[in-house]
Symmetry: C2
Subunit: 192 residues, 2 copies
């Protein structure tokens, strides 16, 4: 089978456990703690305090199915962001660009959150809830944010060839920050 | 923007209405009647009778989101297969191959059904229910079947570059047929 870079996989039945935010069978599981989000929250003093004095809390986890991140495959994962803030800024994912520009979908599973998108000039925000798809077109950096009081979980489906560029977000930001506000949340312009 | 064959689309919030099996905003909607499934059911006499004397019933519908079927986009649709049989063979989709081999996922939304896969030699069957992902690797033809008494709906997510080849299934079959049986359903070997 010379056309395959990796041995092809077989059809697969994958069960979503929304309550546990896991998939079965399970593939790689990522845990992102506050220390993994260095340089992303505006309030660096509060970020440092959380890392050093607040036991470096888990901010989010990513449970992937066994479908590999290679060309022609369509992997999936469940991301769960814990509720919380750092200096008034809601817990969020690192955010990334796809080095190979490919569309992606997020499907809300539980809790309430949002999808922040930035193409280098324009910023978009999509309110997420169970049964809502947030569509991420190619060329748009994307980050998820938990704006509620419960864990926010969503299913991601993305082409295996897309890749993940986290450095782009560190360099360019996401156009806005999502801050706690009397009405719930507000987007404020991004400033370094 | 010379890299785009079609003008890029903006981020989009798409709501799934599982009860109505629709998406909002809506894109193309397909309705497949019995007459559209010529040559697929084993019992041609019963198929002809249904078309001519049974008002050519709707077998399934496909409601797509507005995300276009073009390279780098990741379109989605909800397919709903009505309950029923034709000569003992359960209502099903036409089935297709992707001319450009790309993986696809089906996520069960309501009802019970199955995903029949065929790579030209091997046949696989995945029992589908709400919260179950059926993973379709590249190079596997795929067809959905309603084996229950209620409508069976699922969300499909697939790369916009994959395409649809229905002729392949007419020529090669799907390796098996899914027939009503005392226990519910059974797979019987495909014969022309």
């Amino acid at each position: 089978m010379p056309e395959f870079a990796t041995a092809p996989i077989s059809p697969m039945r994958i069960t979503l456990d929304v309550a546990a935010a896991t998939v079965d069978p399970a593939g790689p599981v990522l845990t992102r703690r506050m220390s993994d989000l260095e340089g992303l929250f505006a309030d660096r003093t509060e970020w440092k305090r959380a890392v050093e004095d607040d036991a470096d809390p888990v901010v989010y986890t990513v449970s992937s199915s066994p479908v590999p991140e290679i060309d022609r495959e369509l992997p999936q994962s469940i991301t769960t962001i814990r509720p919380g803030t750092c200096g008034g800024e809601f817990f969020m994912t690192k955010g990334h660009q796809h080095p190979n520009p490919q569309g992606e979908i997020y499907l809300g599973l539980s809790g309430v959150g949002g999808l922040l998108l930035f193409d280098g000039q324009r910023t978009e925000w999509i309110d997420m809830a169970p049964g809502v798809i947030g569509y991420i077109p190619p060329h748009w950096a994307h980050r998820s944010v938990n704006v509620g009081d419960e864990p926010y979980s969503f299913l991601a489906v993305y082409p295996g060839c897309a890749g993940h560029d986290y450095q782009w977000v560190l360099e360019h930001g996401m156009g806005a920050r999502v801050m706690r506000a009397p009405s719930g949340y507000e987007l404020v312009p991004f400033q370094r």
